[in-house]
């Protein structure tokens, strides 16, 4: 547990000191959101209707932005070998790193999303749903994403491959996350969608570290 917390703390410190911490992802999130009205025109009803789905997709892309460095930096400077040699099982190391990734991307995006939704004129009634759905669903971006990051860790040009590998895994959360918000806006019961998001999240938290650690072992062998 001590090693686990130390690893989470290390990744958080590293992210704040050299990676710009949560601000890199947030900056991307804000920029992309500002592009949408420029692209489709400042039609408020159109923007409001698309806001939920658009913010979910942007959150997925913003998470993807930093995902390729999740194991790459450690693989390059040799700390990944140290992690594999240590007493902490590699599965827990992957969990810790994915958790730190979520704390620096998914969580800040979740907090910022309602403000950006306001800028996109999202109808009232969707704000709580947007916040809660992202809070429950966005861990999938980090934990399922860790599988792709681990698979492409040793590759020189892994970024493009990573997005091809990971985006299919993101599809269910994006569908149900955006669906839950739309349902809430239109006054429908959206509890089932939240339960489904939670289930996918928990599933990713178990499967991601297992498959991620298996993939890392390939590169270490």
């Amino acid at each position: 547990m001590k090693g686990f917390l130390a690893l989470v703390g290390r990744d958080l410190r590293l992210s704040f000191r050299i990676g710009g911490g949560p601000f890199l992802g947030l900056g991307f999130f804000l920029t992309v959101t500002a592009m949408l009205p420029l692209g489709v025109g400042a039609k408020l009803n159109l923007l409001g209707e698309a806001a939920a789905g658009f913010l979910w997709v942007s959150a997925a892309l913003a998470s993807l932005l930093s995902l390729d460095r999740l194991f790459q930096a450690d693989a390059e400077d040799g700390s990944l070998d140290q992690l594999a040699l240590g007493t902490l099982p590699l599965e827990f190391a992957v969990f810790a790193k994915a958790l730190a990734h979520w704390l620096t991307t998914g969580l800040p995006l979740t907090v910022a999303a309602p403000v950006l939704a306001l800028m996109l004129n999202m109808p009232e009634g969707g704000y709580t749903a947007l916040f809660v759905s992202l809070l429950v669903g966005s861990p999938v971006f980090s934990f399922a994403g860790a599988i792709g990051a681990a698979l492409t860790a040793g590759l020189r040009r892994g970024g493009l491959l990573l997005s091809l590998v990971v985006l299919p895994l993101f599809v269910p959360v994006i569908v149900f996350g955006a669906g839950a918000v739309s349902a809430a806006i239109n006054g429908f019961e959206s509890w089932a969608a939240f339960e489904f998001l939670g289930a996918v999240s928990l599933f990713a938290m178990v499967l991601g570290p297992l498959a991620g650690a298996a993939a890392l072992r390939i590169h270490l062998s």
Partner: protein, 243 residues
């Protein structure tokens, strides 16, 4: 089964089977296509465009079936570390991607006159598109990692993780209200599994389905034999260079 996991035995067996497989594939698909294009009756609503179904439905079956084959081969490769299983999974992927693309394209061509649109984001269509991306990602992993043993393992892990999509495709038309119709070739009626389309359409479809499966096996064997030959040539060249 493991007896034929020896590449030499596999080459002998597949070499002996291949002519028969080609013959069966050409016969089944030839008759199926003739019956589908000329002999079967027109649909009373769809007219001639119903004939697309005889390509579309077998392609869709193959798209999931080949992923299933890759999944089994990947698990065998991961557990028993058998190179031939890795070869099978690797060589099945491009064939699966082609069938998935054929399924999507024929579906779009059928959709335009029938639904009035080439594409719609309904659950079945989207999940098949995601399956296509999975195939591409799988092939990408193989192409990106130089060391063959490492590439095989990485691709196998991706394949095993991606298999979650298969039940989603299978049940998407039952879980969600989709524009794509529900299962309509065979249905449970009165507790029995019974065909729900007319025999005049069922048999050409079955013939195409079995024909496509045989075609897949034949193509897979050819690709696997090529891959084995390619590796042998590389080893020989390496030996020659070393000598």
């Amino acid at each position: 089964m493991l007896r034929y996991a020896n590449p030499k035995k596999f080459l002998d067996l597949s070499g002996a089977l291949l002519p028969w497989l080609w013959l069966a594939a050409i016969g089944l698909m030839g008759w199926g296509l003739y019956a589908a294009l000329f002999a079967t009756p027109l649909d009373y609503q769809q007219g001639d465009s119903v004939r697309i179904m005889y390509i579309h439905v077998p392609s869709a079956w193959m798209a999931s079936f080949i992923y299933g084959v890759m999944f089994i081969a990947s698990v065998v490769g991961l557990v028993w570390k058998h190179p031939l299983a890795d070869t099978a999974a690797k060589e099945a992927a491009p064939i699966g991607a082609c069938f998935t693309a054929a399924c999507l394209i024929t579906g779009a061509l059928w959709g335009k006159p029938t639904w009035g649109t080439y594409w719609i984001w309904d659950a079945r269509l989207t999940s098949v598109l995601v399956l296509f991306f999975l195939y591409l990602g799988y092939m990408g992993v193989w192409a990106a990692i130089e060391d063959r043993a490492k590439a095989a393992k990485a691709a196998a892990i991706l394949c095993v993780v991606g298999v979650i999509n298969i039940p989603i495709i299978r049940f998407s038309v039952e879980w969600w209200d989709t524009l794509h119709q529900g299962p309509s070739v065979v249905r449970f009626e009165n507790g029995k599994l019974a065909p729900s389309i007319d025999p005049s359409m069922l048999w050409p479809l079955v013939s195409m389905g079995v024909g496509c499966t045989v075609l897949f096996v034949a193509l897979l064997f050819v690709r696997m034999r090529t891959d084995i030959a390619r590796r042998r040539i590389r080893t020989l060249l390496a030996l020659k260079a070393a000598a």
